[in-house]
């Protein structure tokens, strides 16, 4: 559902804008744009600064900030979260109870996109 709303938003933006606005979607063999991926897939929960630790003020949902992470370690973990395309081949990582949610966010990303995203998070979220 999130994805549908998101693509509807992206679409409406493209329709309203009179001039050409380049748009980016992950998993379509385009050169990776990590900042856009972060905005599309991660910022909703983690915030643009990576410091958000609960979802829209709900105190029952808590998680760690994602600042100051090592790019390689993060990439490895995100790839484990994403898993194979078919989970029966090799299943997704279940960690802190967020495995399924992380998988939905990451499932469309290619390995290359995950690498560039991890690098971006490591460089920009201090």
């Amino acid at each position: 559902m999130k994805k549908i709303i998101l693509s509807a938003l992206v679409a409406s933006v493209a329709l309203v804008a009179a001039d050409k606005t380049p748009i980016y979607k992950s998993g379509m063999l385009l050169p990776p744009q990590p900042k856009v991926i972060y905005e599309q897939q991660c910022a909703q929960c983690h915030g643009m600064d990576g410091k958000q630790t609960s979802f829209k003020g709900s105190s029952t949902v808590v998680y760690s900030p994602i600042t100051g992470l090592n790019a390689d370690a993060l990439a490895k973990e995100l790839k484990e979260y994403r898993g194979g395309i078919k989970s029966k081949d090799y299943g997704p990582l279940q960690k802190y109870g967020y495995g399924a949610l992380m998988k939905t966010s990451l499932t469309d990303l290619s390995w290359e996109e995950i690498d560039s995203l991890s690098q971006w998070i490591s460089n920009n979220l201090k």
């Binding site: 994805k3 679409a11 748009i23 979607k25 998993g27 379509m28 063999l29 194979g84 390995w111 290359e112």
Partner: protein, 496 residues
């Protein structure tokens, strides 16, 4: 091109013909009359007339947008020009080498052709009167007849033809995730880097085909110098998804075999084929012929094995192997249950040819135009979309059984053009695709089995000869006639 083979084959051909008291020229003429005309398009006037009852131009107007400028998209564009008085045709294609001759990739992989023999530039074949947008479509809005490219260009259309092709999903194989997804043409350096330089290869991309020949030579050399009695393992795979050109995994196997024999190294090598399916070919006659050939050549084969993992360090390929067993007795059903089982099978390899899993491009799969599996659901006979009647699909991306070959496209694009114009004129769609596919299955250097068939799963030969027999004549056709037929006949004139 390797002239040594052509010459040795031609002399073999002359010998065959002399036995029948014919010259080469007479034989080619006969082939032209009996059916090669169907391949060449122009030489057989009567057959052409039957196929195209009238070549009258239609006065209908409408903006036609074709997404994808490969063989299917470009030949459709060209043919539409033949039938429209006021054509308004736009092709959207970002890849400069999009019309490259993919069927030649097996020949490149086997070292018969060079990569330059199959490279065809898009910009050389854009017909006058067709507009081109060199961008990638990433959003489709079929409800409002509109699409958007990655650069943000919004394109409106009255009629849409989807000819995007498919994606090679190397990423799904554990160990090759860095390869990502790929398309056959264009820059695939990322893929080649991920495959490495130690025996893993795939002819499913143009650059990968050239690399396959490099790897193959290396391991043939290794087999040649092998003295310890161990065999060099050549492993070939076939995945659990629909693939384009289902014959290619076997063609490259046969070419490796031929090259090993040529080097005098066949005795030191073992060739094994691991297909996901339970048969060699969907058509029983061709299946039997292929199994016969596999036995004759001493290959090993293991059905129901799907490649899921590659260990590049240890050189081990892991397959998911499936089978069924007789289970416990079910007292209610009064019969034994059938239990499905599967396990991981680890196979050491020296040379591994990967046929990648293949899927529809994500932009199609996620739009309202794609089905749950991603492919574009069309009426398999008229090629019209099942929900949007101004949308048609052709080629690899269309959800048409057995349809993912250039040979299918050669039949499909005529059906599509006739039906699209009928739809523009508001008439009933007259043309029907019967599922024709052709697989010129290279069995060794110099012979080809021309497997032609359609949805009846019966052989449908174009020539009055036993289709299950391997012949040098089809090799000649594959090597010399099919590329000009495709490039000139389809892309340049829209008639073949």
């Amino acid at each position: 091109m390797d002239h040594k083979y052509i010459n040795s084959m031609l002399s073999q051909m002359d010998k065959d013909l002399a036995a029948k008291g014919m010259s080469r020229r007479e034989a080619m003429k006969l082939a032209g009359i009996s059916g090669a005309g169907m391949f060449m398009g122009a030489t057989n006037a009567s057959a052409n007339e039957k196929e195209e009852i009238k070549e009258v131009k239609s006065g209908v107007k409408g903006k036609i947008v074709i997404v994808g400028g490969g063989l299917a998209g470009m030949s459709t564009a060209r043919r539409l020009l033949n039938f429209l008085d006021n054509p308004d045709i736009t092709v959207i294609e970002p890849e400069a080498l999009s019309v490259s001759y993919q069927p030649g990739q097996t020949l490149v992989g086997g070292g018969i052709w060079d990569i330059d023999d199959i490279r065809v530039k898009r910009d050389d074949y854009i017909p006058d009167g067709v507009k081109i947008i060199k961008e990638k479509v990433i959003d489709f809005h079929p409800q409002i007849n509109e699409l958007t490219t990655a650069e943000g260009t919004v394109v409106k259309y009255d009629y849409l033809v989807l000819a995007t092709g498919l994606h090679l999903d190397f990423e799904r194989i554990k160990g090759l995730e860095n390869a990502g997804r790929a398309m056959s043409a264009g820059d695939n350096s990322k893929l080649l880097k991920a495959m490495g330089d130690d025996g893993i290869c795939s002819i499913y991309t143009a650059e990968g085909a050239a690399a396959t020949w490099t790897q193959m030579q290396k391991f043939i050399e290794k087999a040649k110098n092998k003295k310890d009695g161990e065999k060099v393992q050549f492993v070939f795979t076939h995945p659990n998804t629909p693939v384009k050109c289902g014959g290619a995994p076997k063609k490259i196997l046969n070419l490796a075999n031929a090259r090993l024999k040529e080097a005098g190294a066949r005795g030191n090598a073992e060739l094994s084929f691991y297909p996901n399916g339970g048969v060699m070919f969907g058509v029983p006659q061709y299946h039997d012929a292929i199994v016969g050939q596999f036995k004759r050549e001493g290959y090993k084969w293991y059905y129901r094995h799907n490649l899921i993992e590659v260990d590049k360090e240890k050189k081990i390929a892991t397959f998911d192997s499936k089978w069924q067993e007789k289970g416990p007795f079910d007292p209610i059903m009064r019969d034994f249950e059938v239990v499905s089982k599967h396990e991981k099978v680890r196979v050491p390899y020296d040379f591994l040819h990967v046929t990648p899993p293949q899927l529809a491009p994500r932009e199609i799969a996620e739009s309202d135009l794609g089905s749950a599996k991603g492919w574009v659901p069309v009426n398999k006979e008229t090629l019209q979309h099942i929900r949007y009647d101004n949308v048609f699909a052709i080629g690899d991306v269309a959800q048409v059984p057995m349809g993912k070959t250039g040979g299918s496209v050669r039949k499909q694009y005529k059906v599509l053009v006739t039906n699209l114009i009928a739809r523009m004129e508001g008439k009933k769609l007259p043309a029907k695709y019967a599922g024709y596919t052709v697989c010129p299955l290279i069995t060794t250097i110099g012979t080809v089995m021309l497997a032609e068939f359609n949805w009846t799963r019966e052989p449908t030969p174009s020539f009055p000869l036993d289709p299950t027999v391997e012949r040098w004549m089809w090799w000649l056709m594959k090597i010399h006639l099919l590329k000009p037929m495709t490039v000139v006949g389809m892309i340049q004139t829209g008639r073949a």
